[in-house]
């Protein structure tokens, strides 16, 4: 039987852990516990709840309003791991600077980033958005259409990314990708990047932007980007969306072309 005094001696450690990793606890609470409780209470999925909220609170046809409402919902009501407003600014800036004509988005989720990208695209540009999950894709479709983007601007592809990428050229007639945004499973970053390299869709100056490379993190992806010599790598440091105190970053890869 462990005496209470020894148990008390562990108190400082527990306090330390709680204080040091408080943001992670908050994240756990908001992303897991609240979601679970709400799922049980409402009976519909988190994404659909978000869509309902947006439908009732945002102005249809206005992407800015939809994004703002989304941000509000994610920071105040529940938590969905979108790109978020702060990192979104970096995305906007990159899009405005490069004016890509063909954009590929891996991981649509609820369509937040799709709306965000489509908003900053030049006229005549096209966004292919890939989502694996059927239900998420339905929500995303609704949100994208609600924001006023038609099928010509944003094309939603409901398929796993590793199946889509090799067929982009044949099925969708894509010749070259100017901009690729990755925000799906962190584990798929590296294989998808290698698929993209192999498909020959990347040209010199193509930009690949990968979110969440520090938390949850994609070390293999970063290592490959650094070592392969095909890319010019920049990591934009920021914090995790909607939660302060957890460091995160986006990796910006500029394809230098095959030699």
């Amino acid at each position: 039987m462990v005496s209470p005094a020894i148990a008390l001696a562990f108190l400082p450690m527990i306090l330390t852990l709680i204080i040091r990793y408080r943001y992670y606890f908050v994240l756990f609470y908001r992303a897991v516990l609240v979601r679970w409780v709400q799922d049980c209470l409402t009976g519909i999925s988190r994404e659909e709840r978000a869509f309902q909220y947006i439908l009732t609170h945002a102005t249809p046809g206005n992407p800015d309003s939809i994004l703002d409402t989304f941000d509000y919902w994610c920071s105040k009501v529940e938590f969905i791991s979108n790109i978020g407003p702060k990192k979104g600014l970096i995305l906007d800036r990159l899009l405005k600077e490069t004016c890509p004509l063909t954009v590929l988005e891996l991981g649509t989720h609820c369509g937040y980033s799709a709306v965000r990208i489509a908003r900053s695209l030049p006229v005549g540009a096209r966004l292919y958005s890939v989502e694996m999950d059927q239900r998420n894709a339905q929500v995303a479709e609704k949100i994208i259409r609600l924001a006023g983007f038609d099928d010509d601007t944003v094309e939603l592809i409901v398929q796993p990314s590793d199946e889509v990428i090799p067929r982009l050229r044949e099925d969708y007639g894509v010749e070259r990708l100017d901009f690729v945004f990755m925000d799906h499973w962190k584990r798929c970053y590296l294989p998808d990047l290698q698929l993209l390299e192999g498909s020959g869709l990347l040209g010199e100056g193509s930009i690949i932007l990968a979110d969440n490379v520090i938390f949850p993190g994609a070390p293999n992806f970063l290592r490959h980007a650094r070592r392969s010599g095909l890319y010019e790598l920049r990591v934009h440091r920021a914090t995790l969306e909607y939660i302060r105190g957890i460091r995160d970053g986006m990796a910006e890869l500029v394809f230098l072309g095959l030699k």
């Binding site: 020894i6 400082p12 306090l15 330390t16 990793y21 993190g217």
Partner: protein, 941 residues
């Protein structure tokens, strides 16, 4: 071929020999054709003289070789003829040389010389015909090579060698790329190596070569010896490796550990050699006395591992603890004064520790030097922040990042020092943080006190009824608190928003307070325990007399003479012996502390590293960069742990002579374990900071701890009477009575008298007074020296600033002059173009000439006092030269002899000055390099 040979090193000789042999064969064929040309020929080699000049060198080589071969065959009879032949050859050579141009000749000379050196080497290799060969060599050398060299050329060669040597020395300061430096270094070294030996003549030359060789051997030996010396320093290589990976701050911990190990070795030597070994060898054996025997009650379990692990049973009744020692005044045939030795060793270890710590502190203080380092914050950061001992790319990256962040922070600090926003909030937060820390300290102190009291209760009721947890509660709680509270402090300190360095100091101070509080709580509780034991002792004393009486009454019927009743010493009742209890407590504390440290090392570092490393492949987030990641090496915590561990040793060593031995063991193991753990499961810190400044800080802490830990030990020795039936001082009123006893019995009477006089307060007080005065005097003198140092520093600074100002002014002036000169030049150009239209050439030239003459005369007047002046002169000249160039390129056809006449001598005069001035000019962004080119252009004209 010759060039290659020149560069090839001496080690290539064997290969060259082969080459020569091949050449030889080839040339044999050629020779047959050329035979008719030569009359005196008896040998093949002569013929080769007639070949092309380029081949000459090879032939010489061949000569050397073939001659040697011949000598190895049958030299003596042929020697005379050979000599003749060589003379002939030399004549021929000279004739040819005269015909050749200078360059080729030099080349050949070098060649021949090289041949000589190589042949010499071979001669040393072939031991059999050494003498003959050398004789031949000398002959050939004197006549064939040196004979062919005029003394002037020899001088030149000497000069060249000297120049190369100078180059080797000054190479480091040259502003060249590294590759070029290495190349030149290698080349010039080879050059020196080749020709150095050839400079002397005949015997002198050999002696010289011998000397050079011996010098090299000696240097190599010295280098090897240095290597050997470093290899002899324990763990030096390990520490260097860690240093290269983690920077100097982590390495400083290990150096500190090693230093501690050394001190503990000496403490261990003292206690082991003067206390434990004599007692074990010469003292009464185990079982002869009650104090040296395990009591009957405990005997059944005395050999159990659990008991031994707690240092009870047989371990308790052994030389490891105070209670085992006998109060017999002299033991063994050596008449070893055991109690006196025990006391003196106890005092001596503490005195030695004081001495060492203070000496080290003084040395460190010397190294630091006085002066304020804060005045040039940014300069310090730029020029001194790199840690040159780092050899690991990752650490270098970290260091780079930390330097940049420190720059950013410094800039931000600089900005924030001007505006202070919401000082009340920061103040409030700091007060709050301190309050929290105080709460923590109080809580931990109370917890320890509570636990110690509880353990006393357990002890009174008998430890056998309780489990392992209860028995080790105190140590566990102390170790755990010592481990986790610093982490909590670290978290709390983020509230305060201090600069990291200040935060580190606060952190150290808090941990120090925590450890100290814990230690003192422990000691106070121990004091209570001592008092309890002493009360128990009184009871035992009473019982003892009763027991004795009963013993005598019961078993002593009529025979009064015998009185020797055989009572087993295990059955004799005995006192509780508080000294052994204290010693045991400290030993247990040390053991549990060590165990917790190691276990934490294994779980906190190693297990974590293993998990992170191998679970990272199948985890949903990045473990290496994200949440658990690898641990960093906590320098401050480790150093403090070490210091407090040492404090405990100092405190407990008097009552448990085994403590230094245990500590040596612990330090030894932790050296290896921590080295391994650092290298295999820690990552370099994100903020790599330099350790040089903190060394004395640690030392000061060690001194404080030493003082604080000797305090209770001395208090117990002086105030509490020793136990009546255990330990070397049993039966005495106080422990230090042993000194008096020795003085009375072992020394002559007059010594005791002198001692009693000397210890008279009337003498002691004045002595102390004198000492205080001396200390005061020394302190004040050192203060004045420091002041003087600072003054000198200031003076130097102001001087530097003045010089800088002067230089700036001079440069400004020079620039103005240059501008002026340029203006005049443009004017001249315009006039020249006008003149060109009418009368090309002469007029403008005369203009330029006059202007240049003016400047040159001014230059001469100016004198050459200092650099700046020279630089100014240089500008003038340069300005005019550029002007000339500008002027002459459009009109290349016009020749102007008088102009040359003017310019030549002056430029020669001032070349050195220009060279000196050039440095300044590069800084001032003038273009000087055009100058030599201009000179040549003038010459060509």
């Amino acid at each position: 071929m010759p060039r290659q040979r020149l560069i090839a090193s001496e080690s290539d000789v064997s290969i060259e020999v082969n080459d020569d042999a091949i050449n030889h064969e080839a040339e044999v064929d050629e020779k047959t054709e050329e035979e008719p040309k030569r009359k005196k020929v008896t040998k093949k080699r002569k013929n080769r003289k007639n070949q092309g000049t380029k081949k000459l060198q090879e032939e010489d080589d061949g000569d050397g070789m073939s001659s040697m071969k011949r000598t190895s065959r049958n030299v003596k009879n042929e020697k005379g003829t050979e000599r003749k032949e060589t003379k002939d050859e030399d004549e021929e050579q000279n004739e040819k040389k005269e015909r050749k141009n200078r360059k080729l000749k030099n080349e050949k000379k070098k060649e021949t010389k090289k041949v000589e050196t190589t042949s010499e080497e071979e001669s040393s290799e072939e031991e059999e015909e050494e003498k003959e060969e050398e004789g031949v060599d000398n002959d050939e050398g004197d006549e064939g090579i040196l004979g062919s060299l005029s003394p002037e050329e020899l001088e030149k060669l000497k000069e060249a060698v000297d120049e190369k040597k100078k180059l080797i020395i000054t190479l480091r300061a040259k502003p060249w790329p590294m590759r070029k430096k290495l190349l030149t270094l290698r080349e010039s070294q080879r050059f020196v190596e080749k020709y150095e030996g050839a400079l002397g003549k005949g015997k002198g030359r050999k002696l010289y070569a011998y000397k050079v060789m011996m010098m090299k051997k000696w240097m190599k030996f010295q280098r090897d010896f240095e290597n050997f010396k470093t290899a002899c320093i324990p763990w030096e290589m390990k520490i260097k490796e860690i240093e290269s990976h983690f920077g100097s701050s982590v390495a400083s911990y290990f150096i500190f550990l090693r230093w501690m190990y050394g001190i503990n070795m000496i403490l261990f030597g003292l206690t082991f050699g003067l206390v434990m070994v004599p007692e074990a060898l010469m003292g009464k054996p185990y079982g002869s006395l009650p104090r040296k025997t395990v009591p009957r009650v405990e005997q059944a379990s005395a050999m159990d591992f659990a008991v031994l692990w707690d240092f009870g049973g047989y371990a308790k009744y052994s030389v490891l603890f105070y209670g085992y020692y006998n109060n017999q005044r002299a033991i063994g045939w050596l008449k070893f004064r055991m109690p006196l030795s025990y006391f003196l060793v106890g005092v001596g270890t503490v005195a030695y520790s004081y001495m060492v710590v203070i000496r080290t502190m003084a040395r460190n203080a010397n190294e630091q030097g006085g002066g304020d380092d804060t005045s040039f914050n940014f300069s310090w950061k730029i020029f001194t922040s790199w840690d040159y001992l780092i050899g690991n790319p990752e650490t270098a990256d970290n260091k780079f990042a930390s330097i940049t962040t420190s720059f950013k922070e410094a800039i931000v600090e600089e900005q924030e020092s001007r505006k202070d926003d919401n000082i009340h909030l920061t103040r409030f937060l700091r007060v709050l943080a301190n309050f929290l820390v105080m709460c923590c300290l109080a809580g931990s102190g109370y917890l320890i006190y509570f636990v110690v009291r509880r353990s006393q209760k357990f002890a009174l009721e008998g430890l056998e009824n309780y489990g392992w947890w209860e028995r080790n509660e105190v140590n566990m709680v102390m170790s755990l608190l010592g481990m986790f509270c610093p982490m909590l402090f670290d978290v709390i300190s983020t509230l305060e928003n201090y600069h990291p360095r200040i935060a580190l100091q606060w952190q150290l101070g808090r941990i120090f307070a925590l450890f100290l509080g814990n230690l003192y709580t422990f000691i106070i509780a121990l004091m209570d325990a001592i008092n309890l034991k002493r009360a128990e002792e009184e009871v035992v004393k009473m019982n003892m007399t009763i027991w004795m009486a009963s013993l005598y009454n019961g078993s002593l019927p009529e025979n009064t003479t015998a009185s020797m009743i055989a009572v087993d010493p295990a059955d004799v009742p005995r006192g509780p012996c508080w000294e052994t209890m204290v010693g045991q407590e400290f030993v247990r504390l040390i053991i549990s502390d060590t165990m917790t440290t190691y276990i934490m090392l294994l779980t906190g570092d190693f297990l974590r590293a293993v998990l992170v490393r191998f679970l990272n492949h199948c985890w949903c987030w990045d473990l290496e960069y994200g949440f658990p990641s690898y641990s960093e090496f906590d320098v401050s915590g480790n150093v403090l742990g070490l210091i407090f561990n040492q404090g405990m040793i100092w405190m407990g060593a008097f009552y448990a002579p085994c403590l230094p031995a245990l500590n040596v063991l612990r330090l030894h193991v932790s050296m290896y374990l921590q080295c391994w753990a650092v290298m295999c499961c820690n990552v370099p810190q994100e903020r790599v900071f330099k350790a040089s400044g903190s060394n004395n800080f640690y030392m000061a802490m060690l001194l404080v701890i030493l003082f604080l830990s000797t305090l209770p030990a001395i208090y117990t020795i002086v105030t509490i009477p020793p136990s009546f039936d255990c330990g070397p001082f049993s039966g005495k009123n106080r422990m230090f009575d042993v000194i008096q006893e020795t003085l009375e019995t072992d020394f002559p009477a007059w010594f005791g008298k002198v001692f009693s006089y000397a210890s008279n307060p009337g003498l002691v007080l004045p002595f102390i007074l004198v000492m205080v005065l001396a200390i005061y005097y020394l302190q004040s003198t050192s203060k004045t020296y420091k002041q003087a140092n600072i003054e000198l520093k200031k003076k130097l600074q102001t001087q530097n600033e003045e010089n800088k100002k002067k230089n700036k002014l001079a440069a400004q002036k020079a620039a103005d002059d240059l501008k002026e000169a340029k203006n005049t030049a443009s004017q001249l150009l315009s006039t020249q173009t006008n003149n060109n239209a009418s009368d090309p050439g002469e007029n403008s030239h005369s203009n330029i000439m006059t202007s240049s003459v003016k400047t040159l005369s001014r230059l001469n007047e100016d004198g050459r006092e200092n650099n700046t002046q020279a630089s100014m002169d240089a500008t003038h000249i340069h300005a005019h030269h550029t002007l000339l160039e500008e002027h002459q390129t459009p009109t290349p056809l016009t020749h102007d002899p008088p102009l040359h006449g003017v310019i030549y001598p002056v430029t020669h005069d001032n070349q050195s000055q220009q060279r000196r001035g050039a440095h300044i000019f590069r800084d001032a962004d003038f273009h000087v390099d055009a100058h030599p080119g201009m000179l040549t252009s003038v010459r060509q004209n």
